[in-house]
């Protein structure tokens, strides 16, 4: 949280989609940070301790894809909530760390902001309410 606003980190290699995702986050009333791949995301997570949620793409260049990144985040920063979006239609949610939510692209803005609101309301040890 920063000044009472949840902080969301958007990780997406496509500039236009990232721009749209940042717009979505800001429009929902949150603070937005952006990274173009997993490595950049980790660098940001290392210097900021106020990130509440990471919204990441799956297929990205660099050392980690979005799935690996989400596991890495869950291990190093357990309280950070996770939303993963992919161009793949079928992606088992079981591939994600527990509590992580998956959406296929193209995602609907309302669906994503609803998921963000739900995840941000839930406390870390509690699973998100349906």
């Amino acid at each position: 949280m920063r000044n009472g606003k949840p902080v969301i980190l958007v990780v997406e290699d496509s500039a236009l989609i990232r721009m749209g995702a940042v717009d979505l986050v800001l429009h929902a009333g949150y603070e937005a940070l952006e990274a173009c791949d997993a490595d950049a995301a980790i660098r940001i997570l290392e210097v900021r301790n106020d990130i509440d949620l990471v919204f990441t793409d799956v297929q990205m260049p660099g050392t980690m894809d979005g799935i690996k990144l989400s596991h890495y985040i869950r291990d190093r920063w357990p309280p950070v909530k996770l939303i993963v979006a992919s161009g793949a239609t079928i992606l088992e949610e079981s591939l994600l760390p527990s509590g992580g939510q998956f959406f296929s692209k193209p995602y609907d803005y309302h669906t994503i902001t609803d998921a963000m609101a739900r995840l941000l309301l839930s406390e870390s040890p509690r699973s998100p309410t349906a």
């Binding site: 496509s14 749209g20 161009g87 239609t89 692209k105 669906t111």
Partner: protein, 353 residues
Amino acid sequence: MSTTPTVHFEAASTLAVVVSSHEPLLFLSDDLKIIAASASFCRAFDIDPTSVPGKKLGELGHGEWAMPKLESLLKATASRSADIQAYEIDLKRPNGGTRQLVVNAQTLDDGDVEHIRLLVAVTDVTDARAEARLKDDLARDKAILLQEVQHRVANSLQIIASVLMQSARRVQSEEARGHLHNAHHRVMSIAALQRQLSTSPGGSVELRTYLKQLCQSLGASMIADPSRLSIHVSADDSAVEADVSVSLGLIVTELVINALKHAFPDERTGTVMIDYRSSGRDWTLAVADNGIGMAVGRDAPKAGLGTGIVEALVKNLDGEITLSDAGPGTIVTIDHQESAGLRADLSPSVYAR
């Protein structure tokens, strides 16, 4: 049959059959001496036919057939303890190449129990196996490529959807915003189909799942209060070709957008119902709402892009639109009767009633 004891000589007809066999064939005595080899065998394994008779199997060619395992199996067959069925063995050719062989062997059953002879069929499956492997590789490559294409399509649609949503948020005019939102719904409608297609291997689309997904996506972006408005989909087990499903999906998109926008003013509650039934090649799609009903005649709203899209797509599907009062609400029915295709030009326009 013949009672003449033919101890050393085989019947000429037997030898002729062996030699002319299309499948590479060896005819052996029980001590694995070659009585005859088919011309096809000599051709396939580069062996001089005149050098064959009387030789031991292990002496054939440059000795490449001296394979202890094969010899012991053939001996077992000769002693009638086992037939060889589809035994696979590698033949190391003198020129360095290795061929994969499938060997079948059995004793010749001609009633002569004194003289055991073996029929050995040798098939070179190297090329067939390589071809099968290549096919597998191609199929795998194709699957990977298809997945890659699907990712790209999904990403491209996401870019378009993102840009449309950002424009919608920035424009000042309420009307322009409405149009941009509609464009966004249309893109998402095509995306729902794309998603459905990528999970249905045959290129045909199962309509119930598709329409449900489509309406879920429409509802998610258009319905702010799900306790006030809802969309209900019912359909039989029909599956249709991809290009038909894209038309049906876009028609449903337009009609649902229209109903949600106009049928429930002033916080009215209600439901939009989509139903699809088919029988043989005939089908009916209905989109009904229980809203305020459609203004007709003098108050009918001017046809917009949505109406144009629906009419063009329905025409393309050889369908007929009927608009009727559901009291309360409106039902739009699109009917396709295979037999009606011929007289379509003669039937009066539904709007002219």
